[in-house]
Symmetry: C2
Subunit: 205 residues, 2 copies
């Protein structure tokens, strides 16, 4: 790209470093911000700086929070004997949006991925073991992605936790609601046949 201004080029390069944002999109975003008022641009820029400078992570579950202990971990209405293990804060938000879960969370901050150089020591695994030792936890739910990295992480965690007196479960896998059989991938369809459930069990949902 031939930029007519070094300052413009600099800003476009910064935006272009964001994931999924190419040079053309970056240019569109920067030109959009240039048309906004100075106050709006300041508000935009300071929102991310304020976040970076003041962000806290819950000391118990490591979710992003404005407080030392997050609202979920602090709530008396939640079931403290149930911990759902997730990859990051987006998964917490996704599960909270379902309104189907009333336990606590534990954010690992990633998944084991030797290809990306992420090992167990990089994740919040020790503090999960500590929580299980010190709190009265009855069940752990692994809500991790159905990928190689997710499965590896579950395998590792299971080995670490299997000697505790705990129920360990993972998310149900199968055909999505609204999903059409003919478009389901073979592995999912095959597994959902071998792990079929009695029809009566689906009625009391």
């Amino acid at each position: 790209m031939n930029f007519s201004s070094k300052l413009l080029e600099n800003a476009v390069n910064e935006f272009g470093n964001l994931p999924g944002i190419g040079k053309k999109t970056a240019l569109r975003l920067v030109l959009h911000l240039l048309k906004e008022s100075k106050e709006d641009v300041d508000t935009f820029a300071s929102s991310i700086i304020t976040l970076k400078n003041n962000i806290k992570y819950c000391k118990t579950c490591h979710n992003i929070s404005d407080f030392d202990i997050c609202e979920i971990c602090n709530s008396f209405k939640r079931d403290h004997s149930l911990i759902c293990v997730v990859e990051d804060t987006r998964d917490v938000m996704a599960i909270e949006n379902t309104n189907q879960y009333n336990g606590l969370y534990h954010v690992l901050n990633g998944l084991i991925s030797p290809m990306d150089g992420v090992g167990p020591a990089d994740l919040m695994i020790d503090s999960l073991v500590e929580r299980i030792k010190n709190q009265e936890v009855k069940e752990i739910i692994f809500a991790l992605s159905a990928t190689m990295e997710g499965d590896t992480t579950i395998f590792y965690l299971h080995k670490k936790l299997k000697d505790f007196n705990l129920k360990i479960s993972t998310l149900a896998r199968g055909i999505a609601f609204g999903g059409e059989i003919e478009y389901a991938d073979e592995i999912t369809l095959g597994r959902s046949i071998t792990t079929r459930v009695p029809y009566e069990n689906t009625l009391n949902k």
Copy 2:
């Protein structure tokens, strides 16, 4: 979305206000920046603030520039008798990338669009007329989008400029290079038949 942090929600809303960026993408971008170092986040934020505070527009052609008169307008190598009228700085960059044009530009900063409340007075039209009066301009090229707004703007500009002793031209319209006939839209295909060119003219390209 259920945000676990007001600061996070605030930053996501700011990013979500950018054109073409939805809430989910905004969250992904913000979480990406959160993982970066404090210096990198400062560099990102200050790049757009510095741009906004120090941006200049060329006093002649109104293109974004670091100087009062942009490098193109200041260049002795360019043909100063030729002005290409464009909508915004992105069009200047696109045309510069072709390496096929050696004249000057005039950035209108928009197109006439009554639907969006943009009239001729909102565009840099008067200064274009001034340039034509004061400089020795031989030809004006309208390089505006082939849309309703573009055509309206060309129509208006043509009326304003037709009494000057000027050659006025627009971009050639037709089937794109590499374009397949069967996928061309009807208007383009129909027009490219009625405005067909002698085969010999295409050989000296």
